[in-house]
Amino acid sequence: MAHIPDGVLSLPVLVGGGVLAAGAVAVGLKRITDLEIPRVAILASGFFALSLFAVPVGPSSVHLLLGGLMGIVLGPAIFPAVFVALLLQAVMFGFGGLTTLGVNVVNIALPGAVIGTLCAPLIARATPKRAALIAGLASALAVACTGLLVACSLALSSADYTLSARVMIATYIPLMIVEGLVGGFCISFVKRVKPELLAPLQSEAAQ
């Protein structure tokens, strides 16, 4: 839903997205140690696999973006994780694009990183019910921000897109609701079953 293909955006937007994404990925990589790479990568695989399952909404179905959940679980490591996942999707399935990789990484990972980093400590301390509420709101908000960023990427690319971009934001509303609900129930599940997963990534292996 947020995979912008090659051939839609203007050069300045592509370059801007690319530079921003490169910086964010570099920061994300700095924050993890060599020993944590397997953990980040395997969690990223879990999210990647999840995003491939279609969730039915009435007669049609959607794929989840999972930005909010990834931000909560991975923190800044969301940038390398999303970068690699989008690269593979572009190469293997033809979703998204090569030139738009940077923009897409920023659109999906940035809201997750910001919202997730803010919410993770709250969720770690909250009861399962409250954690679910926070995570639900965070997930929905992350989708909304991604929708907004996608619209901005379009509007900044060409004045022709401005009206389309506005209408497009509305199409994110069903996904917002679904992600909010699934994200909330998901965190409630994790909170009851394996609360350690919601503690921030830390290098106990390196001790």
Partner: protein, 251 residues
Amino acid sequence: MAFAPTRDDTDFAIERLDPRTRILGACAMVLAAVAMHSVSGQIAMVAASATLASFAALKPRDMFHRLLHVEGFMVVLLVLLPLTMEGRAVISLGPLALSDTGLRKAFAIVLKVNAAVLATMALLATLEPVRLGRGLATLGLPARLVHILLFLVRYQTLFRDEGARLMEAMRARGFTPRLNLRTWATYGNFTGMLLVRSMERAERVEESMRCRGFSGKFPLRGTKPFQAADIIFAGALATLLAALLAWDALA
């Protein structure tokens, strides 16, 4: 073990190219496709990519399916552009009018997107992810990203299979998705369970790596030098793209 099902039995020239050649070639073609201004240039780019794709090991049927499977995003954009862009109304449907500039713009986008997707699929879709990873590493992608990529390739299929089995378990006990809260709660449980399982597996894999002497440094295998075929392919592609870009500039 590319994700893409391939036509086997026969030998495909593209499969013998060095991964680096394929990556750089795909990037060059996508950039050229994006840069085309004229309709004739865009059509020529689609033709060039399609020709190359016909030499790829990807089954034509799968390739066609992928082209059809455009993202919801694209559908929305392609429908909205003719409706929202100003211009001469070509077709009127009650209060809605499709403008000529909008239609032309939408058509241009369709051409560019298809040229780029075809080029990517032709050169990269059947490249084994492991070789893709090594190619990217020698092209300067940080080793950590390459390792994340290799793990992702290995584990996403594992988790996809695990998820598919969980979904089956849900169906086996009579679950049918409806528009109600219980359906979303069930999907939430599903998501949570898959995450918990990936976390637990991550822990055990990390331990198993430590048991085999892992101390943070990954051994990564090198790549072979470029072959004659790579140089010929690169030369031909560069000539073709230069010609197409020149034509586009003149058109």
